[in-house]
């Protein structure tokens, strides 16, 4: 990007004649010709369906014939209002789904990031024997289909399943995992009735007491499953990043007398920041879209709607209740939520390349100043460009 722009800037375009321009144009044309198949494929299979869904979300299309048909009417923001501003069941269901998914995201993303980082460190150790075996073993859940793992989980976490049998060795009576709607925070608080102050309907018609319920026991089983299945994938990302760092850096830090913890915290982790950013972003997007596990478990968001998620709710509204407008509206609201969370996360984490951009801007300012004074200093932009390169 930057090199081509520099090249263009270097060419005094207006000074040359028409010939030069047309050649540039044919080049661009050829470029577009080459990407045309992909543009068309993306357009037909991505852009167009999104456009249609957007239209469905503001229409009263009922699922018969084309959504562009003559008897489909524009209803404005009605579907959105029903979901976001209503006092009815639709809004409450949406609020419940958001609550469930929020707890899911809050627990899964940090856990999967930390665990995958830990796994990556373990299998990156030079001293570890059977490295290949462990790498394969940790990655294995990621290549298994979610459906298979969900079914496995249903068996493991059934009332008389392996997990409860294991717990019983320690004289712990395990819960009936997938049938237990009690929230973890409620349980920690003693599981009593709601205090009067918190039992009034609040946001989306759901009481504050219900908002702070925490993930239900059933959802916790899904949370464990998500951590189990995704850690392997992200381990691979971390492993690649760790191997790119190289041993020299670690050795240099060792020579400086840094302890293991210091080397991890002050040397390795900062260098892994772009990867952490990637993992957290992918994690956020993936966890907000949880659908297949809920669908496969076959409880339709139960017990007591504590595993209902926006993605499942959207499917349910459209395909089961034939309320296509509401289904599409939920999908778009979910899209908005994911964008907001990703942006927030970027701001909090400092972004993968924000510092670089700051440096580029500083560099530009510097060059401008140099140009103004007329002295073309060779060394200063050079070092800046060098540091820029390092960040990448």
């Amino acid at each position: 990007m930057s090199t081509t722009e520099l090249a263009r800037a270097a060419t005094p375009a207006p000074a040359r004649g028409r010939k030069k321009r047309s050649r540039l144009n044919t080049q661009a044309g050829a470029g577009w010709l080459f990407v045309l198949p992909m543009v068309v494929v993306l357009g037909v299979f991505l852009f167009l369906p999104v456009l249609m869904a957007a239209w469905v979300s503001v229409s009263d299309w009922g699922g018969r014939g084309s959504p562009w048909g003559a008897n489909v009417n524009f209803v404005g923001a009605r579907n959105y209002v029903e979901v976001l501003g209503g006092k009815g069941l639709a809004a409450r269901d949406f609020g419940t789904a958001i609550r469930n998914n929020l707890y899911y995201v809050i627990l899964v993303v940090p856990l999967q990031t930390a665990i995958s980082l830990g796994l990556a460190f373990m299998v990156n150790k030079r001293a570890l024997r059977g490295k290949g075996f462990f790498r394969t073993a940790f990655y294995f859940p990621s290549v298994t289909s979610t459906v298979a793992i969900t079914v496995l989980w249903l068996f493991l976490f059934s009332a008389s399943g392996a997990v409860n049998a294991f717990l019983s060795w320690f004289s712990i009576t395990g819960p009936n995992w997938f049938a237990d709607p009690r929230g973890l925070i409620h349980l920690a608080l003693g599981g009593g009735e709601a205090p009067a102050a918190l039992s009034q309907p609040g946001l989306f018609g759901i009481s504050t007491w219900e908002w702070i319920a925490g993930p239900s026991v059933a959802m916790s089983a899904f949370i464990l499953m998500a951590v189990f299945t995704t850690s392997g994938t992200f381990m691979l990302l971390f492993l690649a990043a760790l191997q790119a760092i190289g041993e020299e850096t670690d050795e240099a830090a060792m020579v400086d007398g840094a302890s293991v913890w210091q080397r991890f915290w002050y040397v390795t982790l900062p260098m892994l920041r772009p990867t952490v950013f990637t993992v957290v972003t992918l994690g956020l997007i993936g966890t907000w879209q949880i659908f297949d596990q809920i669908y496969t478990a076959g409880q339709q968001g139960g017990p007591a709607k504590t595993t209902l998620t926006p993605a499942y709710l959207s499917y349910n509204a459209a395909f089961i209740s034939q309320d296509w407008g509401r289904g599409a509206a939920i999908a778009f609201v979910l899209f908005g939520i994911i964008v907001i969370f990703t942006v927030l996360q970027r701001l909090i984490l400092g972004g993968g390349d924000r510092s670089t951009r700051k440096q580029v801007r500083a560099e530009q300012r510097m060059q401008a100043r140099l140009a103004a004074t007329g002295s073309a200093g060779g060394t200063i932009p050079g070092t800046l460009a060098g540091s820029d390169h390092d960040e990448h």
Binding site: R8, L24, N25, A28, G29, G31, W32, L36, V39, V40, G43, V44, F47, L48, L51, G62, G63, R64, G65, S66, W68, G69, G88, L89, A90, R92, D93, S158, A159, S160, N176, A179, P181, Q300, G301, G302, P303, A304, K305, F319, I320, S321, Q322, D323
Partner: protein, 414 residues
């Protein structure tokens, strides 16, 4: 951005736009021309039948029946087994090329009838008056009888014979009132085993509301979830559970009542006639008898049914109606009953069914007093919400649950 790239981007958008228009043109407009050919004098367009099959027995039986009709009528016909019927049917309706005949549940009827996907052909059937009235009303939407009931199921009390004897009970002890049910449930409770189990849902617990003379919606279509009979029914169920003599199947770690019954975690369950298939295939060593449910203020049970829906956009509706008439005849329904254990939806077949299946008599007797669950638009969500609260019945106030359901229900029926 460079001027030339901006121009190119505009061009790309133009290309996209033209493509999207072209795609719409070819994809959907064909649907409008399809029904016109339906009224031709002798239409031999093939008829496709989309079914959601319970297993090989059902698939083979339906295929044989459709093939027999095809030979008789000369119209080619094909049976397709859906893995996810609702989704496949929905795609067909949206694409304008639906299958001609398909299974439709009471839950789905409203949505598809409302958006015009289904043909209301019920009144064209010669054997219309032979169907059970309760089933006809289940498939009546907006005062139009949409589709012919395929078969139906009712709920009854399934009793483990060995445990019954072990508790010293005889045939005379089969409960006919709520008090008797509570008494035998108590006698049958032993250790971790409960006397009575049912799924944590309106689809099972609702029988007590029906017996108390209630139900979520009154006969004239008013919301009455928090009416006194319903409160009494839930209070009765709550008492059974808090006394430890009854439990939800989920509390026993079972996916449904049949599983709890088969694993001998419950001595009695409230289940439909489909339980007999599961018992013979999965738990062949458990002996059981079936009894009609006890009465509260009146006799009551719930019924479930599917119909043979016909697509409004199908291209051979005349033949489709003829096929459905063939499939719902008394003899054909008795064949279906024999092949895969369903109950015939026509009253004339009841006697034959009872003779063939003496054990199932209590189920078909339930047809006389069975209620339908509400199925108007949005009812499925209200029922789901009710079920989500029902899970906590042991600690919750029945009236609070029903009050919440009432306000949800009023939003959809007024």
């Amino acid at each position: 951005m460079h001027p030339s790239s901006r121009r190119a981007a505009t061009a790309a958008v133009a290309v996209l736009a033209s493509f999207s228009l072209a795609a719409c043109g070819s994809g959907f407009s064909s649907s409008s021309s399809a029904p016109a050919s339906g009224s031709a004098s002798k239409n031999t367009n093939p008829v496709t039948v989309l079914i959601g099959s319970s297993g090989d027995a059902e698939t083979a039986s339906v295929k044989a029946a459709v093939a027999a009709w095809s030979t008789k009528s000369g119209v080619p016909a094909e049976v397709k087994v859906a893995s996810d019927l609702v989704q496949q049917a929905t795609q067909g309706f949206a694409g304008g090329k639906p299958d001609d005949v398909l299974y439709v549940s009471t839950d789905q009827l409203t949505g598809w009838a409302k958006n015009g996907s289904l043909e209301a052909y019920g009144d064209q059937l010669a054997n219309k008056s032979d169907f059970y009235p309760g089933l006809v009303s289940a498939f009546t939407y907006d005062n139009k009888f949409y589709c012919a009931p395929k078969d139906f199921s009712t709920l009854a009390l399934v009793i483990n014979t060995a445990m019954w004897k072990e508790a010293g009970l005889t045939d005379a002890d089969v409960p006919t009132t709520w008090d008797q049910l509570a008494a035998v449930a108590k006698k049958l409770t032993k250790g971790k085993r409960v006397g009575l189990a049912f799924g944590p849902e309106l689809q099972r617990v609702g029988v007590f509301m029906a017996q108390a003379g209630g139900g979520l919606v009154s006969a004239d279509g008013k919301a009455q979830a928090n009416a006194q009979p319903n409160i009494d029914a839930l209070a009765y169920v709550k008492k059974l559970m808090t006394d430890g003599n009854a439990a939800f199947s989920s509390d026993l770690g079972a996916g449904w009542g049949g599983e709890a019954f088969g694993k001998k975690e419950a001595a009695m369950v409230i289940e439909g006639n489909w339980i007999t298939g599961a018992m013979s295939s999965t738990y062949p060593n458990v002996d059981y008898t079936v009894a009609e449910l006890p009465a509260g203020a009146q006799k009551g049970t719930l019924q479930y049914t599917n119909c043979w829906g016909i697509s409004a956009d199908g291209d051979n509706k005349t033949a489709a109606v003829d096929l459905v008439s063939f499939l719902t005849t008394k003899d054909q329904q008795l064949t279906f009953a024999k092949d895969f254990g369903v109950m015939p939806s026509v009253q004339s077949a009841a006697e034959g069914y009872k003779t063939d299946n003496p054990k199932m008599v209590p189920f078909i007797n339930g047809a006389a007093y069975a209620q339908n669950l509400p199925s108007m638009a949005g009812a499925a969500d209200v029922i789901k919400d009710f079920n989500s609260q029902l899970a906590g019945l042991k600690t919750k106030d029945p009236k609070a649950i029903l009050d919440a359901t009432q306000s949800n229900l009023q939003a959809i029926v007024g």
